[in-house]
Symmetry: D2
Subunit: 344 residues, 4 copies
């Protein structure tokens, strides 16, 4: 396979894992060497994910010493938080590259981690090593990172439209309100009653209106951009669809900011970003335009009466919100065309 | 039919009209005398709405002089705005009772009407006669009204949880942010491309983020309760489901207000209201709990870090958000049990 | 409660149980005395089914001696098969009336039961006592029955359109092919991966194409009507919607049978049946016309080229297909208006 | 663009057109030179299909002389029937290659065309020139064809599992019954009331149970394989999902045919076909396994009691059922890897 990147996917039985398998499998420069799952060990991939008709891999039980002996260049961790750390630590120590889709290395502060995840962090020493994997914002750091912490889906959908506005001082950092809605794959493949078809279909509701686990991650990155501590209100909703996520941000404009100014700001940051598409003023983002792609669509409108900016952004929660972004980070790390393997 | 109320439904070919026919038809004290539709004149109801297997009515072309000669006690107008006025004026002058589901008599100020509906109001003299048909708030006025303007679906879902908080001064009137989501019947039965199944399914998006037509109605009623002009941000979303609506309100608490205080306030206003159910702190409303009912579910949570109150409320957009509420108003006007015909 | 029927619902935590609670609760002549659930014993109904805002009952642990001491007139069993028998036997012996929604008393032959349900029947002596609860076909037997076995949802949707044709010899009994599709509530409230939202949504598939558990019940009733053993092909499908079921029957016409003849036959059997609506030739049934009602819609068309009759029928799987039909049987048993409590 | 194939898409404003644009745009050996739409002439593609963020083409008004002067190698016609002929005739005469997604060149007999499409065929002389574009069956003919008539979606889903069985004489040609279900994109982008979200969602129904337009095409191809005229019953259903199609075939086994025999037959025909995946006995096809792919999944089961074979097959109606299959044909014609541009 010559110059291929040898890839291992650890914990691949959920929806992000499935999406990762799909993306890596069709990636022209990747060689999928290992796919693990404790639950499905020794089971052919095809049996669990029948859409992969051309894959003859089996799930393997995860075995850290075998991983360390392998020639795998990069490990994607599609594991629950805490479990991700258990694999990340020995792999990192052995110098292997890691892209973690879990929440374990997103927060810089282990106390915040404990507050939101209700457990002690397993490897606080790595929190200073990890890079927050939002390529449009952190591309250079990602390039040289050995441990990329992929942002959560909600944070991705929120930070992409918000950080440029914060950095350019176009909006205030107080009273930031964000209402997001996610398709049900966002809840993972958890077999629990609230996620049954007949419970979710024809249902729409907010959940975790205070203290959702993605909130500290969002606040951390806004605070960095604002160079001051910022608190937000973030209210996620569950939407009866499979894939897609929309965030609606209500922001206080910083004085007399025009729509042209907003457009200019986005143009400055995103004009060359292939995965980001900023819409004309007053045109709102729609999840259907980006589903099954790695794209982010951003729309905005100004409410003159309240001097507020309304921004909406749509991503696919499994692609740009998880596995697509992870592959984008991998492309950067290995000096590949950043967009390869991620076309529509 | 003895003591029955004789009912006419004017303009009954849309989803609210269909729901009205269903509710009036099964109402034990109503006699459905007239159902009109210009589009379907002379067509059996059954042909357009096959679920009404036991209804042998035909749609009639609307004929105002025939209406005036009839013994109909109350006319429900399920017409587009402006058209509603054309019927309301002669019916009102002739002393007939009217419950209007359109937007024509909700706004007190004809200038605001013109600004949002882009036409001159057809009967500004009636704007002082109409009563805003939110029974839990305006019950006594409705009882003696001859022209009830039923609130829009979004306003109903927003005002029910919000007005008590405003009246009791528990929240500030500044920076009120409301994100709502509606099932697709909320768009009416309009045959337009954006409402095709394949366009709405697996799609979630905000629309009209500034200046939605329901906004002035919401602001008008909040302003009355606050006894001062209030501006809000209201951002509606389209949700891929048939029926149901959820509103999420982000409100600034007025100083040191506890969850107990909020619960007490709701208890004071709604403890005896059969159609309103306030949930325990931190439990959010869900459209599936109220779909196909006239109920409103209200949930709330306090974010101590930002001192904000998050309130969510769910109604069925066609029932409590339109035709159910209209029937509730009718029950009040005719001195019937307010809940009759509206059970689950 | 005067002349009310005292009702107990045994095993009410699934979707049929929920529907039964709703129907009995709003029934003008019923007094809901007992709702049991092992799983949710002592839990307020409202907590599990938040839509019942006005019900202050709690689930009770099922206790047979308490049931026998109670003044309950009729017990609805909304239990899994086998468990239903455990309650049916002592209740029946004590002379209580029973309407069983499970499969335990539908089959007349215990060997067939064992073949399809993989267990010995618990009370074969009751198989001759039970009446198959399809009111439009078996009304008189139901009236005097103490143990009604409510048909399965698929059998109801199939037998209603099929039995009249068989009885009148309009179709042959060979090569009967039936393809049905059911909404996901038909699978019950089972918390299993295949019934997760993200697994069912955007998915459509056949399952159990040979030997589905409802098949022997269908064959048994056809065979009785035909007075000879009949075998069919029955292929159910899972449809991404909550409620509703459609069956499509492909039948060999018995010689030169016209559409008029078919219409006449249906007219003879169903003209006075309020819950059954036969459509004009070539108009097909649609689940949306009957969802949340106790109605059955029947459509038919003749294919002259193959001399076959295509019949489609739609019911709501939880109403006419389960709990609505159970209530209809109860109305018959207690001499009430058969339609009461079952209006749209 | 060196060795690229220059492609024109004529009539690209519907769902098949959109899918074609997507597939051709990402195809490594295609150069998309022309996209026409009468309705959207001069409008940027991006405005109508916002998901194509990287496409700067405009729709052009279709202009046949300009087409003839162009260097376009192959024209895809994604037009309504009859309109397709208007373009096909001059293009064919001028020696251009054509892949027609419409129904105009699928039927060999102009009388059958007239019977089902209610118009005279516009170019009966081309009916002998066109090749039925089902690559797994007709690969060699497609290779040298200048006019490929892509099969309809239903025929594709039916003929792929059925033709091998017919050719090998494993099933009888009498009493073939087929029930299919399609996602709503199958109805095209028609702006008509029956295809509104609120009309299709929570609805499942048969339509055109006799004489659907795809039926003669199915019968024609079966008859060719059987070398005798065959009549079938084909009943399509509308399923509340965007994409995907499942066909369930009920077939009479020809004597004592075992499951092994069926598996062998499929193995013989499809073992080397990358887009076709035959499942183990008794495992049914599922649309979700193949949605957004060019794959066809086939499952089968034998009912020993009736000696019938039940076969189910799933395809994506817009991919293998239309545009994906069209691209597969193009790959064959130009000697490209048949699978290129069509990976998951």
């Amino acid at each position: 396979m010559g110059n291929s990147v040898n890839v291992g996917i650890i914990g691949a039985s959920g929806y992000s894992g499935e999406e990762l398998i799909k993306l890596i499998n069709r990636h022209p420069h990747c060689n999928l060497q290992l796919i693990t799952s404790r639950q499905y060990a020794d089971c052919p991939i095809l049996k669990i994910f029948p859409r992969f008709g051309d894959l003859d891999h089996k799930f393997e039980a995860p075995n850290i010493s075998k991983m360390l002996r392998s020639s795998i260049d990069i490990f994607f961790l599609a594991l629950p938080h805490k479990v991700a750390s258990e694999f990340a630590v020995p792999l990192f120590k052995a110098g292997r590259k890691i892209i973690d889709i879990s929440a374990d290395f997103r927060l810089n502060d282990k106390h915040v981690y404990r507050k939101y995840y209700k457990i002690e962090h397993q490897a606080p020493e790595l929190l200073t090593e990890s890079v927050y994997g939002l390529p449009e914002i952190n591309r250079e750091k990602i390039r040289y990172s050995k441990l990329v912490a992929c942002p959560g889906c909600y944070p991705t959908s929120i930070l992409l439209p918000l950080l440029p506005l914060i950095r350019e001082n176009l909006v205030l950092t107080e009273d930031i309100v964000i209402c997001s809605g996610s398709g049900v794959t966002g809840a993972g493949r958890k077999v629990e009653q609230p996620y049954l078809f007949s419970e979710c279909n024809e249902s729409y509701r907010a959940y975790s209106p205070v203290g959702h686990r993605h909130q500290p991650e969002i606040e951390q990155e806004i605070s960095k951009a604002a160079e001051m501590p910022v608190k937000i209100n973030f209210i996620p909703h569950l939407v009866p669809m499979n894939r897609g996520m929309n965030s609606t941000l209500i922001l206080k404009l910083n004085g007399n900011v025009t729509a042209e100014k907003i457009a200019e700001c986005y143009n400055k940051y995103y004009n060359d970003e292939k995965f980001i598409r900023v819409l004309s003023e007053n045109v709102m983002a729609d999840t259907k335009h980006i589903s099954q792609t790695n794209n982010c669509e951003i729309g905005f409108a100004i409410d003159a009466e309240t001097n507020k900016l309304i921004v909406t952004s749509s991503i696919d929660n499994l692609t740009k919100g998880a596995s697509g972004q992870a592959v984008q980070c991998m492309n950067i790390i290995f000096g590949l065309n950043e967009y390869i393997g991620l076309g529509d």
